[in-house]
């Protein structure tokens, strides 16, 4: 049900520009207004969400500890899994962000005949996630060619590496194909693994369908329903130089791709995709486990008015003596 609703939403997003551009000639709306709104919504959303997270105090030192903590000198510390210094934290964070180390240690368990419970390592999610994120990143970098003039030289090398198979014209770019395969895998995993299906919400399926449709329209534009790239770059360059224009002859599939991308961009700050900022601000990952060396002061702490026994006795010493109560200081 969640999946079907999300699919309907994405199909709707495809139909809107199809009707709006083909039927109602709203090129200006879909080519210029919508992308600008999406970028503004994105930037405001990211900044306000991060600021909101930044205002949340971290009362305790709560890094996830996955190995031996720093202890006596002859006990070997697991420096990456239980970092006690800033450099350890940075190292763990970098490996997490770039290589998804925590997914690599994913395990699954099964009940076998016997009955026996068996645990095993499972790497498919790690592999799929890695393929997905990296290919998405390369696809994103490749799009810089549409937003810069002259195009930075390194992009030629990125594209040459990405297209090194030299299959067909325009040459197949590996990242685009891997992106579509990986996002399809991540979707099928939600559908076919019962436990994962049980916990999947519309907010999980929607971004998957959205990214899938973006990859499909992109691949269609490059290999099948060719579009006039020079006119498209004129449009995109108009957007980044604030000198907007709508060249003639851009086919509707481009506007569909653009609306899907705009939707994704505007959706990011308000959805789970915001984990791209959240991972850096997670106290379980960005704190060093140094609670035995450094006192973690709860920023919530407000000065508590205390009345120690000494002060109490000072205040009531005479009365206590009169009543015959023992006092510490005469």
């Amino acid at each position: 049900m969640n999946a079907i609703l999300s699919l309907i939403a994405v199909i709707g997003l495809v139909l809107i520009p199809l009707i709006g551009v083909k039927g109602a000639n709203l090129h200006f709306l879909f080519g210029i207004v919508v992308p600008y709104i999406a970028i503004i919504v994105f930037l405001i959303g990211v900044i306000s969400r991060v600021m909101k997270w930044g205002r949340v105090p971290v009362p305790f030192c709560i890094p996830t500890t996955c190995g031996q903590q720093q202890s006596l000198p002859w006990i070997k510390q697991s420096k990456l899994d239980n970092p006690s210094t800033t450099s350890g934290v940075v190292g763990r964070m970098l490996l997490e962000v770039l290589l998804f180390r925590s997914l690599f240690s994913n395990t699954k368990f099964e009940l076998r005949e016997g009955p026996k419970l068996s645990y095993g390592s499972t790497k498919w999610l790690w592999l799929g996630g890695l393929a997905f994120h990296w290919s998405f990143f390369i696809v994103l970098v490749r799009h810089i060619r549409l937003f810069t003039e002259p195009v930075p030289a390194f992009l030629k090398n990125v594209e040459a590496l990405d297209g090194f198979l030299q299959v067909g014209i325009p040459g197949v770019l590996i990242s685009g194909v891997v992106l579509l395969l990986a996002v399809t895998y991540l979707f099928l995993r939600r559908v076919f693994v019962p436990q994962v299906r049980y916990i999947s919400l519309a907010a999980d399926y929607f971004p998957l369908f959205l990214i899938m449709s973006i990859a499909i329209t992109g691949i269609l534009m490059r290999y099948f329903l060719r579009v006039d790239l020079v006119s498209i770059k004129t449009l995109t360059m108009g957007l980044v130089t604030f000198n907007t224009k709508i060249p003639e002859g851009i086919s509707v599939i481009f506007y569909i791709h653009l609306l899907l991308v705009s939707t994704l961009i505007a959706y990011i700050p308000y959805s789970k995709i915001m984990h791209l900022g959240g991972v850096l601000l997670s106290p379980t990952r960005n704190l060093p486990n140094n609670s035995r060396m450094v006192r973690h002061v709860n920023p919530w702490n407000y000065p508590v008015e205390v009345h120690t026994y000494q002060e109490y006795e000072d205040e009531f010493r005479d009365k206590m003596k009169n009543a015959g109560l023992p006092v510490e200081k005469e």
Partner: protein, 132 residues
């Protein structure tokens, strides 16, 4: 705000990276490249028409070339009949570049703009032009 300095620095870097094309292109005006059609052969044409319609050529010329290559090399088929019924010898050097003999002012104009570098010219010979 806790760790405000670090968070704001991170946000500024992020927004800077995200809006980098705006700064990169600041002060430049983007004009669509105009491939030049003023070659001797095209000037003599009565009907200034490419192999197919201009719109089709702009978007699909690379696939047309790919098709031609396969038809010539794999099927030994040398003649292409365009939608208008005109016949062309399928050849990169002798047909396309015969009319578009100004590669630098024509093909390369668009290709530089779109950051594509067809590898065809490592084997095929581009027309002789004056070095610019």
């Amino acid at each position: 705000m806790y760790n405000g300095g670090k968070i704001i620095a991170g946000l500024i870097i992020f927004v800077g990276l995200f809006t980098f094309p705006i700064f990169y292109n600041m002060g430049k005006t983007s004009a669509m490249p105009e491939p030049k059609l003023d070659t001797p052969v095209i000037k003599q044409l009565v009907e200034k028409r490419c192999v197919e319609s201009k719109e089709y050529m702009r978007a699909n010329h690379m696939q047309l070339l790919d098709n031609w290559r396969d038809l010539v090399i794999r099927e030994g088929n040398l003649v292409y009949e365009s939608t208008g019924g005109k016949k062309y010898i399928m050849s990169l050097q002798n047909t396309c570049m015969h009319c578009h003999s100004n590669k630098k002012e024509f093909c390369d104009k668009c290709h530089n703009y779109a950051n594509v570098k067809p590898y065809c010219w490592s084997c095929h010979i581009p027309p002789k032009e004056n070095e610019i």
